[in-house]
Amino acid sequence: MKRYFDYYRATMKLSVLEQLQYPVANYFYMIGMIAEPVIYMVVWSAVARQQGGMVGGYTPGAFAAYYIVWTLVRNMNIVFTPYGWEWRIREGQLSMSLLRPIHPLHGDVAYFAGWKVVVILLWLPLAFILSLIFKPELDPTLLQGVVFFFAIWMAYLIRTMILSLLGMVTFWTTRVSALFELYFAAELILSGRLVPLSLMPDWVQKLAWFFPFRWAFGFPIEALVGNLSTSDLFTGLGMQLAWILFGVISVSLIWKIAIRRFSAVGG
């Protein structure tokens, strides 16, 4: 255990140092990323005002809170993508990882976790500016705050596992972009990224319960800005944990089969 702790610490440190090499580029990247939620926020706030100040229980201030927290969760959602898997197999980088006496997935988790430390620091002033402009209504309890803290990191792990599973498809075939696009389309609708799930039709909300998308995106936001009961909060954390366990077990099993197919063509 101490060994893994040391490895995570060293990898996260390396990741932070790398990100600090390009602070301006990182900032522009984040500014570019907030364009999407700002559009959602403006549109839904306008709709709410036209509907007499509220739509589906969301006021403009509630939408502002939802989409400002959205920006942080979106950054927490950034993980090693299936395209990255394609790249590392093609370029031979996976070979270098496989030579190390530690599973490559630990490297992915640790590296992006380190990256997120920098992201959160960079996000704080952006969130402050967005808050000044859009005036969010946000008054979380301590419990909500604690649940949110764990939920965003568990969301990160869920998405890492699920996208690793998708990424490992590249062990069988290298042209899997269409599959990834299908995944991302489903994620957009069923996660709460496009619109809060509570505004979606009832059947979409029920469907979303059975997929990982909501637990990797919408739930952490709802935990902080929504009106979830204590029971809902803990159920949500339980669902996140279940998806992480599912992901870890699935990745371990598929990895054992996939790695036998690895041809190390790229080096």
Binding site: R3, D6, Y7, R9, A10, T11, K13, L14, L17, E18, Q21, Y22, G92, Q93, S95, M96, L98, L99, R100, P101, I102, R260, F262, S263, A264, G267
Partner: protein, 328 residues
């Protein structure tokens, strides 16, 4: 002494899709795909003793890198058995991986944007090297490769040779017992090649490490390897001392001498390789070397006559020219 690397009838075959050019063939390929089996490594066997430095030679596509990848656990063999330090590499047990390294001349594992010192610390964590030992080894290697002025510069600001030296330090910090070196001097200038050769030799001596080296630079092989294993088209062509390889496959020798007379028909003696003023070098059939040197001395006023074995590059070229079935 038990061998540290032992492979028996090791094979790696790939199924590669193939089709004719053109639209019709592409359309047919959608219905029925045709595959061809490529035998990248075809039932080779050899053993390596602890502390040996073995040159693993062959032209591009011979199967060298594929073999190294199987020995380091990156690839699962199609058939045959492999044992490295008593481990089956394909299982990639952590105890096995902690005792080996694979350095590929065209691959990087150090962070591009950071000084090597930061990446070295990650290597320490990966291999759980105690801090005192890590610092001692790191500083020892930095001194041996004369890198003190460079370790604080980002890797991206280093030359190719400097980067390669850093990669080697990073790959050896855990003091592996087995080194698989795949073209470690690829693209480097002569001075840098020599520095890396010296370092590998020193590492081998200090830690009694076993080295399996592929290189297209024969200077690497001559400087480091007493023994060579040669493969071609995935098959083993030769396994033995470098000197025996030269003896077995060299069909020519070179005869150098100084002569002032210019109007001589040299074709009756051999093939002219070079002329530099009065100095000439001829290539002559090995079995006729004595007769030709005698004739040169008797017929012409030659001075400073020397006879040398053919350059190792020429020998290797002639090895690859020999059909596999004609050799053992």
């Amino acid at each position: 002494m038990p061998s540290v690397i032992s492979i028996t009838k090791l094979a790696k075959h790939y199924q590669v899709p193939e089709r004719e050019a053109g639209l019709k063939a592409a359309a047919m390929g959608l219905i029925k795909r045709r595959y061809k089996t490529v035998k990248a490594v075809d039932e080779i066997s050899f053993e390596i003793q602890p502390g040996e430095v073995v040159g693993f030679l062959g032209p591009n596509g011979a199967g060298k890198t594929t073999t190294l990848k199987m020995l380091s656990g990156l690839l699962h063999p199609t058939s045959g058995s492999t044992s490295v330090l008593g481990f089956e590499p394909a299982k990639r047990s952590h105890d096995f991986l902690r005792q080996i390294t694979l350095v590929m001349g065209n691959r990087n594992q150090l962070s591009w944007d950071l000084p090597a010192l930061d990446s070295f610390d990650l290597q320490r964590a990966i291999y759980s090297i105690p801090m005192d030992e890590f610092k001692r080894t790191r500083d020892e290697f930095i001194e041996l490769l004369e890198l003190k002025e460079l370790v604080q510069k980002p890797i991206r600001n280093l030359s190719l040779g400097e980067r390669m030296k850093m990669e080697i330090v990073g790959a050896l910090l855990h003091k592996p017992k087995i080194l698989f070196l795949d073209e470690p001097t690829l693209g480097l200038d002569v001075t840098m090649q020599k520095r890396i050769r010296t370092f590998v030799a020193e590492y081998n001596k200090r830690y009694d490490a076993t080295v399996l080296l592929t290189s297209h630079y024969m200077a690497d092989v001559e400087a480091l390897c007493k023994r060579v294993v040669v493969i071609h088209h995935g098959k083993l062509l030769f396994d033995g001392d470098l000197s025996a390889l030269v003896e077995k496959f060299s069909a020519f020798k070179t005869v150098g001498f100084t002569i002032n007379s210019a109007s001589v028909d040299w074709s009756q003696y051999g093939e002219v390789i070079s002329t530099d003023g009065a100095r000439m070098v001829l290539r002559v059939p090995k079995e006729k070397t004595s007769a030709i040197t005698t004739r040169l001395l008797n017929d012409l006023a030659v001075e400073d006559l020397t006879v040398e074995a053919a350059p190792i590059e020429d020998v290797i070229e002639s090895v690859f020219a020999v059909k596999e079935e004609a050799v053992e």
